[in-house]
Amino acid sequence: MSSTPVLLDNAQKIPLDPPLSKGEAEGREISDKILPAMLAGILGLVLLYTAGFAEAAQVHNAAHDGRHSASFPCH
């Protein structure tokens, strides 16, 4: 219990971030949101292509029932 006031004291000593300029805010939006979202989306598309559309016979045969069920054009 005695550690709580210490933590609070430390928290008060941490300086607050200065407000972001417009350019910095935009940069942060791109690095925190847009790039990770785009990369996740691309990764998703690669997976969907492999499981749903890749033509290699082995991949097709393995994923056959899944493709039919998902109504992906097959054969």
Binding site: L35, P36, A37, L48, A63, D65, S69, A70, S71
Partner: protein, 225 residues
């Protein structure tokens, strides 16, 4: 700079979502989708044997019926689940709203409409042995329909002006006005009732799949802003 933490959170949430939704779909498929498909395959094989007199056919590897086949179907379902979950996660990340399983369900419904219902209106889920036009033509129509439906629904849901919403409606209906590529002589080795059963079974199984993907992704991918 690239925020690796955000990316990692997205991927981990999508992996869990895809795993659970894929396993759920595999279970649901056993009720009607797979039994119907296997029945249709008996007709398809009979038709193939009748056609090929000279048995010089080259056979690629395919999983043995039974557990092996179910295992690979589960792997395919999980891959599709993770892929779809990553797409939903991507739009959740871009929208500046906290995610929740209830908002996730809405995304799941949008995904179901975009990736399953809209293309299935023109190219219904097919049992093996159904006559169809060239694969590339169907894939193109499928892709255009999915893109149009996705953009169209986004405009209807998020656009502020009537013009954009009208444009969204045009995108939604245009692939169906143009029409999907259909064979000149439609037909199937399997009886029509079997094909019909497969269609309704697939509509049901995919609805469960998409609601699970949306709800789970909304639950697992928590973001603050």
């Amino acid at each position: 700079m690239f925020n690796l933490t955000t990316f990692r959170e997205l991927v981990i949430a999508a992996l869990w979502t895809g795993l659970l939704a894929g396993l759920l779909l595999t279970a649901v498929q056993q009720i009607q989708v797979i039994p119907t498909l296997l029945q249709a395959e008996v007709y398809e094989e009979a038709a193939v044997v009748a056609k090929a007199e000279n048995g010089h056919e080259h056979h690629d590897w395919q999983p043995e019926n039974g557990w092996e086949r179910t295992f690979f179907t589960a792997v395919a379902n999980i891959s599709l689940g993770v892929g779809f979950a990553l797409l939903i996660g991507s739009v959740m990340c871009l929208r500046s709203r906290p995610s929740h399983w209830r908002t996730g369900l809405l995304w799941g419904m949008a995904g179901y409409l975009t990736f399953f219902v809209a293309p299935s209106l023109g190219l219904p889920p097919e049992v093996p042995g159904t006559e169809a036009v060239k694969l590339a033509d169907r894939q193109s129509w499928w892709l255009i329909t999915v893109l149009d439906t996705g953009f169209g629904l986004s405009l209807l849901a998020f656009a502020k002006t009537k013009t954009y919403k009208f444009f969204g409606t045009v995108l939604l209906v245009s692939p169906h006005l143009i029409g999907a590529p259909q064979p000149e002589v439609p037909g199937s080795a399997a009886p029509a009732e079997l094909a019909q059963t497969f269609i309704s079974a697939a509509f049901f199984a995919n609805a469960i799949f998409w609601l699970a993907i949306g709800g789970l992704m909304g639950q697992f991918y928590k973001k603050d802003s």
